[in-house]
Symmetry: C2
Subunit: 430 residues, 2 copies
């Protein structure tokens, strides 16, 4: 199920990435309840329909006062005020505070009309319904103004903002129980080859599990896309066609090869028959040369709009994973509305020398360690494309440029982070 080797030259990594991103659509909006919105990307700007705090309120536990009453207050000569009411948070006062009076108030409670400051509890003594204030306060002291954090009509979030916990809390505080977000891509995942079996299959006779599909389903889940697993097709055109037809109403098809190539490749003719325009078949990189990309001219339904993108990943697990990270993942993130689609790249100091032939960009699996603010990159060792276990140990992919032949120990190199960032140089001393 690889159609790659047909075109030996391939295109460069940057060009491949640009071509993919250029035709990848941002998916349209849908409305979701706030409880389902975490991890999604806003498809609308959010303007505040309320002010926060909703009213002038106390920043302290203490007493709401007229500041003019306390101009001469001091430890030696405290000012005595009658306490005319107690204002709990959330209730608000029904009456105006008259000059010469105080109201007991708690943090967050609305300051009563008339009052212009709050005296901290620590600066008072109280007895019965009276309070002795030992300090003067400025107008506005210990009062948080209505609208101090957010004013009516403020834009608080923008279209394209991703919704983490903080944003969800912010939307809740504005009373937004439904928001418009970008749709999640449905990703059809399929593979083909008579040597492939499912995870519970019989592997005698050199057969292997279609493990790339399982990895892709997991990757989609972790990313927030919707995987649609279509199984393994046989090495017959009818079987391959049936599988691709089932994938046509997805947003993106990710097909992964068995290990066989060449004579057993029925994918390309099937794709052409179904109306897929293949853009390229190989990328000058290692691991992962055989990478195909295309898209369907129109949606399966025949209605306006384009059909799914198609990625044909190499069968080799490491190649498939590197290709997924470099090309498929950014496309899915763009579909989901993210503006930052690529994994972060950091500078690191190479701890060993590396050699290769020119003509392909190599992505070397490396372990990163931080020493006093400098990242040090060391190869995971076995860079064989089959060594998936080396991928589990890697923190990032060192970018060994296409035309370079040697990198020396001590060179500054670029490393694209894989998965979560490594733990950082320290855990805050904890």
């Amino acid at each position: 199920m690889v159609w790659a080797v047909k075109m030996r030259q391939g295109i460069g990594v940057y060009e491949a990435s640009e071509r993919i991103q250029a035709v990848t659509p941002v998916l349209g909006p849908e409305s979701v309840l706030l409880g389902e919105a975490a991890g999604r990307v806003l498809a609308e700007p959010i303007f505040s329909s309320r002010q926060l705090p909703p009213a002038d309120n106390s920043a302290m536990d203490g007493y709401a006062v007229h500041s003019a009453d306390l101009v001469d207050a001091s430890e030696g000569e405290p000012v005595r005020l009658p306490v005319v009411e107690e204002i709990p948070a959330g209730a608000g006062s029904s009456q105006r505070l008259q000059p010469g009076a105080a109201a007991r108030i708690f943090t967050g409670a609305p300051v009563p009309e008339g009052a212009d400051a709050v005296v901290r509890q620590e600066d008072t003594r109280s007895e019965d319904n009276q309070v002795w204030v030992t300090v003067s306060v400025k107008p506005g002291e210990n009062v948080r103004d209505a609208g101090e954090d957010i004013q009516l009509g403020d834009q608080v979030l923008g279209g394209g903002d991703s919704l983490g916990a903080v944003e969800i809390g912010l939307l809740a505080s504005l009373g937004r129980s439904m928001v418009r977000v970008h749709r999640r891509p449905r990703v059809a995942i399929l593979s083909g080859g008579d040597e492939l079996v499912e995870v519970d299959g019989d592997v005698r006779g050199g057969r292997i599990v279609a493990s790339n599909s399982y990895a892709l389903v997991a990757a989609c889940r972790l990313l927030g896309a919707e995987p649609l697993y279509l199984g393994i097709s046989e090495d017959r055109p009818e079987s391959v066609e049936e599988q691709f037809r089932a994938a046509l109403d997805s947003d993106c098809i990710v097909s992964s090869a068995g290990v066989s190539v060449g004579d057993h490749d029925h994918v390309r003719p099937v794709l052409e028959k179904l109306g897929c325009e293949l853009d390229f078949w190989g990328v000058r990189m290692k691991p992962g040369y055989p990478l195909a990309f295309g898209r369907f001219e129109e949606a399966a339904s025949g209605v306006a709009g384009r059909g799914p993108l198609v990625f044909g990943l190499p069968g080799n697990p490491v190649s498939a994973n590197v290709s997924y990270n470099l090309f498929v993942r950014p496309a899915l993130l763009k579909m989901m509305g993210y503006s930052t689609c690529f994994r972060p790249v950091i500078r690191a100091r190479l701890m060993e020398s590396l050699r290769k032939k020119p003509g392909r960009m190599h992505f070397v699996r490396v372990i990163l360690e931080n020493r006093e603010g400098i990242w040090e990159a060391t190869s995971t060792g076995n860079q064989s494309s089959g060594a998936l276990s080396s991928m589990t140990r890697a923190d990032g992919l060192l970018v060994f440029p296409e035309e370079a032949e040697e990198l020396s120990a001590g060179d500054e190199v670029l490393v694209q982070l894989l998965g979560d960032a490594p733990a950082g140089e320290m855990a805050l001393g904890f």
Copy 2:
């Protein structure tokens, strides 16, 4: 629902973190199907029950041969061999390859018994059932040995490894359709205060949405924990007790306050009545001083084992979020089996000067920008504890040490990253 101000001194940030981590349990294992295992943490080491590749197999499309037959082969004097069979990947050969013969073979297909090398298709010409080979090959050339990537009995993953896409693919390739992982914590989320309403509630009279709870539910979902939303209790002991009782069979209770404190606090007596041992009530930090932590002596059922951890977060949204990130999130990750529980910390250059009083560690919301490998940190501006919108813009929390009073522009500072890492200094040129 804050019991914090009762103990004015509080403890230090590091000590709080250590005390929490010291008593946080790693949750026991459960078995899950591979399709549900992404994002979980292994509770068992995985040893390989197969070797990968399963058999000696071809690294190329070409012909399996006896290398001894080709010692004298060259472009000028190609060696002719009869092609006795074609071996597709996944099928395997049923017969031994005799000296003086060749077998057509494809990448990944098992090399037939007898053959010791593969000649690349490019180095041959074929006609009818014969092939002319124009190069000599060394024994083992273009053959990937059985077990080259993984041998029978190899430990491929360890207990405590988290399962990303690569690990799921690796487990699939070994035929593991079920694995033992650490249980996900059930997190009871509750809040209290008469000023609080749900997202669709009436906010007249200074009432506000219990937005912290919505943020916490989202944070749990994004982290992979199981939120259990218990709503808002009233400012009456019976209501608070009812809510905590409903939370008792969780693994962790996160209670968040309204804005009121002091006289309206029914939480502490209720917790004591229900058997919760409170460890501390305040942490010397800003934002977020009023933070309570404790745990129940025994599980609700009365059977062996401890009851849930209890976190009492401040009502202020920014304080609640910072406290969540510093204390609750690492505890939940430890429960889930992660060994790296704290967010990464990076070094940055401060772009402005900052002042504060000594005695509390401040966490200043900053935006990070990378200039030629150096991170530059700039305050988000409004550091008011209410300004949740400043939190949505922050890339990290600058650590302003407890006893420090001033940081100057140009100083090297530590910044704990929030949420996803910022985009890195470049997107690989894409």
